[in-house]
């Protein structure tokens, strides 16, 4: 089935990763006065203490949500470029609900807030899907523009009507302490959302490969003509995958706000959306590979951060290393010779 990876792809991926690793080490050697120290911190940093380790896992967990959603959208042939806005809206919606509603107990509170977050993300992305279905509006562009609108509107909510006037942060008030998602590993942000993400991975896998709707989505994405020929409801799958990817971004956002930030801070989910796309593509749009892809991603971030603090590695070098890895990670072949056109 198409969720299996064949040996040559695996080989190419490993080769690409290996090359990226070597280039990374070379970069570190050139950039640092004490290269060995930088290398050690970069690679072992994420494991150096509970905080770093927990945060890495937490970040990976959040990325898993977005990666799963995007995988499903990509599988159906839809492109959701509005993740930035959907995460932000989801995160903020969850916070606003937590602040403004009196919940009878923490579980109902947390669950409702997260669900509201998911719904807000889903509706925003779903709207782009609906426009596509209705008037064939290009979802790539509409989701991007919509995200631009949502980001600014959410900025307004946070620094306008819901601003915490007693705080120096550009933020909402904190959510009630009882609605904090409990953090494990004492101080880190690591919380149950990581495990929920893992469960979601199973669910997404099952959804995509074991349910009738997943079947419809996969076939519509692979060969629209065939899906139409088979009488599958292809129009529905302009909307549903968008709803799912937006919802997953919403989940990413609401878990981030309920589990890590505990309030809505202006611009606090910046960059989450792009990372979701990256994770999905690195994973080859396969839920089974979203976990390792998200871990690689979070590992790189954590490694950079730790190395920055402990050695003379600079922030931009983290970016450079990530760039090198991104350049190569999806390479299908690494032959330097120009491939003859007609082979």
């Amino acid at each position: 089935m198409d969720h299996k990876i064949n040996d040559s792809t695996l080989k190419a991926t490993l080769l690409a990763m290996g090359s990226a690793l070597i280039i990374t080490i070379i970069l570190l050697i050139f950039s640092s006065n004490n290269p060995l120290q930088s290398i050690v911190f970069f690679f072992t940093g994420p494991f150096s203490n509970t905080y770093n380790f927990g945060n890495m896992l937490n970040k990976a967990g959040l990325l898993i949500f977005a990666g799963l959603g995007m995988s499903i959208a990509f599988r159906s042939g839809m492109f959701n470029l509005g993740g930035e806005g959907q995460v932000y809206a989801g995160a903020t919606a969850a916070v606003l609900v937590s602040i403004n509603v009196n919940f009878p107990n923490r579980y109902i509170g947390i669950i409702s807030a997260v669900i509201i977050g998911i719904i807000s993300g889903a509706l925003i992305a779903g709207f782009s899907g609906w426009l596509k279905k209705q008037w064939n509006t290009d979802e790539l562009i509409s989701s991007f523009l919509l995200s631009g609108i949502i980001i600014h509107f959410t900025d307004y909510l946070i620094s306008g009507p819901f601003k915490d006037n007693s705080s120096f942060l550009n933020s909402t008030v904190k959510i009630p302490t009882i609605l904090f998602i409990k953090q494990f590993l004492d101080t880190s942000h690591f919380n149950i959302s990581f495990f929920i993400a893992v469960i979601f991975t199973f669910l997404a896998f099952i959804f995509l490969f074991k349910t009738s709707m997943g079947y419809e989505i996969r076939l519509s994405g692979l060969n629209r003509k065939f899906a139409e020929y088979g009488g599958l409801p292809i129009n529905r799958h302009l909307i549903i995958p968008m709803l799912i990817s937006g919802g997953m971004y919403g989940a990413m956002g609401s878990f981030a706000s309920m589990g890590s930030y505990h309030m809505g801070i202006k611009g606090f989910t910046q960059g989450f959306g792009w990372n979701g796309i990256a994770v999905a593509l690195i994973a080859g749009n396969n839920p089974a590979f979203v976990i390792p892809a998200a871990l690689i991603f979070a590992y790189l971030d954590a490694g950079t951060q730790v190395a920055m603090i402990h050695s003379d590695l600079s922030f931009e070098f983290g970016n450079l290393i990530k760039a090198v890895i991104f350049f190569l990670i999806t390479a299908k072949k690494l032959n330097l010779k120009k491939e003859y056109l007609y082979d």
């Binding site: 562009i141 609108i149 056109l341």
Partner: protein, 278 residues
């Protein structure tokens, strides 16, 4: 006012025209933002050392081309996922400019030209406005009147037909990517040289807007010109509105996106109606 809007649209227009060439050649180019950033940085770097804005502009284009080459090479030769390599190019641009900046200037912040002289204005318009319009015209000519342009349009549709005709599509797509690098670099240079300084992150999403503009402009130079002016005009209006209305600034900052989004939806509704009527 018109000259302001025209000038505001220029960096976006330049990057979008470059992106148009790759788009027509069948390459989704999300690296525009990074290419512009490299251009902005190089423009200031070179102008600072040579004292010549002309060389700075030229250098910005070359720098854009260099990054575009890496992006194109890996994407086309290694057959890597173009979206990921595009993101990589953007990250790379941020990393390399900061790195070079700290090596050369000992700072990762603003680099300003000390002996700054204002950009040349002709008849009230910035010189780059004319360059932008000229390049738009030039692109019309390249795309529709030259052999290269014809081959670009063909390779975007179906590479296999190019094979039959004995045309090397790698070559065509690579050239399109290089041109987009040069034009995006130029777009970055326009931003930086007009301000007389390089500010990290100063592209501020214009590369992404350029990508949107390509689609809004129906992948045609004239459409792109109109779309980028449209976007610049909405931004201009929102700038002015900040002085008049008590609308929260955050809302006004989102205004260009809102108007563009509405325009896009209306366009697609009309388009559907028209097609159904046929």
């Amino acid at each position: 006012m018109i000259s302001s809007v025209l000038f505001m649209s220029t960096p976006i227009l330049l990057a979008a025209i470059g992106g148009l060439l790759t788009e027509l050649a069948g390459v989704l180019n999300i690296a525009l933002e990074g290419l512009m950033l490299i251009g902005a940085f190089s423009a200031i770097l070179i102008t600072k050392f040579t004292g010549s804005m002309f060389l700075g502009t030229l250098g910005a284009s070359l720098a854009g081309m260099s990054l575009a080459y890496i992006f194109g090479f890996i994407t086309l030769r290694f057959k890597a996922n173009i979206f990921i390599t595009g993101l990589a190019a953007n990250l790379f641009a941020v990393g390399i400019t900061n790195y070079l900046s700290s090596i050369i200037f000992g700072t990762k912040g603003v680099i300003s030209l000390l002996n700054y002289s204002q950009l040349l204005h002709i008849a009230g318009n910035n010189i780059f406005t004319y360059i932008g319009l000229f390049i738009t015209g030039l692109s019309l000519w390249i795309i529709y009147k030259t052999v290269f342009g014809l081959r670009i349009r063909a390779s975007g549709f179906d590479i296999s037909i190019l094979k039959i005709k004995g045309i090397d599509s790698y070559n065509i797509q690579m050239k399109a990517i290089l041109i987009s690098g040069a034009l995006s670099g130029l777009g970055g240079a326009v931003l930086a040289l007009n301000i007389g300084a390089y500010v990290p992150n100063m592209i501020a999403g214009r590369g992404w807007i350029a990508l949107v503009v390509i689609y809004l402009g129906r992948k045609h130079p004239v459409g792109i010109l109109i779309a980028s002016i449209f976007f610049a005009a909405t931004e201009y209006i929102s700038n002015i509105a900040q002085g008049f209305f008590q609308i929260p600034s955050d809302i006004l900052l989102g205004f260009p996106y809102l108007i563009t989004f509405i325009a896009m939806v209306i366009y697609s509704i009309l388009n559907t109606r028209l097609n159904n009527g046929r």
